[in-house]
């Protein structure tokens, strides 16, 4: 069906179609830079989300690490095994000094094929939520109920290939286990004396806990007691009956304070935080506060990446401007003809500016689709490969800011070519070509 008349929009689109290579390359550049910006914004949000997910419904974390930030990185995100233990008696005294909703002991230091092991109590699964409001879920099996049973985080299960009912031997330290590759000289030793039976595999939580394996505290203490006894020349299997007070140690205590129904905040938080801080043998951390501090530390790097993406977006706008500006040389006659037919200078200016905006808008929308598809693919891959849960949807605020910024830059990029079109001398461009 043919047109009923000619419109400014048709002139703009015809002009863009007349130079397809330049148009598509420019759209592609804008799309790439917009997608890059959105992906960086998305990664920042996702990273923040991933950190937020680990601490779940903990109010305070106690450890003997050198600083609260290290305590959070080690105790919740498994950065390293905490080196300084807390005596069981200290745990009991902290738990008994205040009516906490719960006080869950944890102990780290063992590993399986490089994956960290967390020894803890059954409260870890029944009371602690790795993501606030999202309790643990089992993909298969059950939570541990007795010594020498082991539960696998989703990513750890995927990485190790272990199945329910299989037996594993843990390494004291972070070195390779018996089934792993050659351990180096600094690696810990494998406790082949104590097989652990896989009884459960957890659903992904999108937190660092997915990389860990979970056993009960008594099992861990027995492994350590075995080492102590071996060093003392006492041979034979160590049991719970052989445990001494010095064997009963933890490396962290997860605390939740009393709250009002329906609220996650606790009125006693600051007072209890200050009380625990007076004990110089331990450090106490508010995970949310430490994560905020961590993001403040890395925000400069974050800013550099965002800045680089903005530079790429500006570069693509400059390309739009150059492509349009250079095309003006070949279009002076067309512009002059439109002027003769009655088009005002302002209308010609608007036509070229619209071309720039169309290119930018098409590029920006393509970039959003690209970022969305990339996000969905990356999210699916991360979940399948390492169990990391990342929301693939784009943050509406970032999307609007990037879209608005791109369109504004496109408008600015169109001003110079549009001005050139505005100034085309009509009479001089109607003469026959030499």
């Amino acid at each position: 069906m043919s047109a009923k008349t000619l419109t400014d929009w048709q002139i703009v689109m015809r002009s863009l179609r007349a130079r397809p290579l330049s148009t598509w390359i420019t759209i592609g550049m804008v799309a790439t830079s917009v997608a890059l910006l959105l992906v960086l914004f998305g990664m920042r949000t996702a990273a923040r989300g991933a950190f937020d997910r680990g601490s779940g419904n903990i109010h305070l974390l106690v450890s003997a690490d050198p600083s609260p930030l290290v305590a959070v990185l080690n105790g919740i995100f498994y950065a390293n095994a905490p080196s300084n233990p807390i005596a069981w008696s200290k745990y009991q005294s902290i738990r008994g000094a205040f009516p906490y909703q719960w006080a869950i002991p944890t102990q780290q230091g063992d590993s399986y094929r490089g994956s960290p092991t967390m020894a803890t109590s059954t409260d870890f699964f029944s009371k602690f939520e790795p993501v606030a409001g999202e309790p643990w879920k089992l993909a298969s099996g059950k939570f541990f109920e007795r010594p020498f049973e082991i539960v696998l985080g989703s990513a750890a299960a995927k990485a190790s290939g272990l199945r329910l009912g299989q037996e594993v031997f843990l390494t004291h330290g972070s070195g390779a286990s018996r089934e792993g590759s050659e351990p180096d000289e600094h690696a810990g030793h494998v406790h082949t004396e104590y097989p652990f039976k896989v009884v459960g595999v957890l659903e992904p939580t999108g937190s660092a806990h997915d990389r860990a394996l979970f056993i009960d505290l008594e099992s861990s203490w027995i492994l350590h007691a075995f080492d102590r006894r071996e060093r003392a020349g006492i041979s034979g299997i160590t049991t719970a009956a052989d445990l001494e007070d010095d064997d009963r140690k933890v490396t962290g205590i997860l605390l939740r304070l009393p709250t009002r129904p329906g609220s996650d905040a606790s009125a006693a938080m600051q007072q209890q935080f200050d009380t625990l801080r007076r004990d110089t043998a331990i450090v106490v951390a508010q995970p949310a506060q430490q994560i905020q501090k961590l993001f403040e530390i890395v925000s400069n790097v974050d800013g550099i990446f965002i800045g680089m993406a903005v530079v790429v977006l500006i570069s693509s706008s400059l390309s739009t401007m150059l492509a349009l500006y250079n095309s003006m040389a070949a279009r002076t006659r067309q512009i002059a003809v439109l002027r003769v037919l009655g088009a005002s200078q302002g209308r010609v200016f608007g036509l070229v500016l619209t071309e720039s905006l169309v290119i930018t808008m098409a590029g920006a929308l393509s970039g959003i689709v690209l970022a969305l598809l990339g996000g969905i693919a990356a999210s699916a891959w991360l979940k399948a490969s390492i169990g990391l849960v990342i929301d693939p949807t784009l943050d509406p605020r970032s999307t609007v800011i990037v879209l608005g910024g791109a369109v504004a830059l496109g408008g600015i990029a169109g001003i110079l070519p549009a001005w050139r079109a505005y100034q085309v001398p009509v009479a001089d461009n109607l003469r026959p070509a030499a």
């Binding site: 008349t5 015809r14 439109l338 003769v340 009655g342 005002s344 302002g346 209308r347 026959p432």
Partner: protein
């Protein structure tokens, strides 16, 4: 009494640093009249048409097209008046490449005062009358003769009072010159438009009842 298509009074125009100037004390083209403006190449015929069309600024004097003082209008108002009252035909047609014959005619109508609803009927009828069978063909695919017909249709589309034809046959052989001028003049008569046509070709004189010489409008060294 109908308003004259063109009235020029005491017009003076010169290019910066030029040793000559256009000087037109009085020139009037009545509605529907056909006037030939003759003179050698480079004498200022095209310049006069451009001044009439409002594409160049006169130094002094007045230019009135269909009762509208073009010389006093500025910017968009002048462009709008040109789109409404003046049609232009060029030696090289100056069609919009990449657009169809129909769209080239639409291009003149989109800046006119004609309601959009009438554009298609007007454009198709005009192209059909001028012998363009395929109005939806891109102008680059048309023959030179057909392209000239499209250019004529475009110049007449907005029902202008005045058509300015700037050396419309300069690049044509004698046979095609006859055909082209037949087309332009008959179309202008059919539409009731006045025609001011420039040419340096002496054979054109026989086609016009009124002939003006650009030489009589030049003051200064070039005369």
């Amino acid at each position: 009494m109908p308003v004259p298509a063109l009235t020029i009074r005491d017009l003076r125009f010169s290019y910066p640093d030029a040793s000559w100037a256009l000087s037109v004390p009085h020139l009037q083209v009545e509605a529907g009249d056909h006037v030939l403006l003759v003179g050698g190449s480079g004498r200022g015929k095209s310049t006069l048409l451009q001044v009439v069309a409002g594409l160049r600024e006169p130094g002094s004097g007045s230019v009135e097209v269909a009762g509208v003082r073009m010389d006093t209008l500025r910017g968009a108002a002048r462009d709008e008046a040109r789109g409404r009252s003046i049609g232009m035909i060029f030696q090289t047609f100056n069609l919009l490449h990449g657009f169809t014959a129909l769209e080239n005619v639409f291009a003149a109508l989109m800046f006119s005062s004609m309601p959009v609803a009438e554009h298609e009927h007007r454009a198709r009828a005009l192209l059909s009358t001028l012998g363009i069978a395929d109005a939806d063909a891109e102008v680059d695919r048309l023959s030179v003769g057909q392209q000239q017909r499209v250019a004529v249709a475009r110049a007449l589309a907005a029902r202008p009072a005045l058509v300015l034809a700037d050396e419309p046959t300069a690049s044509l052989d004698p046979e095609n010159t006859e055909t082209a001028m037949d087309l332009i003049q008959s179309a202008c008569r059919a539409e009731g438009a006045a025609l001011l046509c420039t040419s340096h070709d002496p054979s054109m004189r026989a086609r016009f009842a009124r002939i003006e010489s650009i030489d009589a409008m030049i003051a200064g060294a070039a005369r």
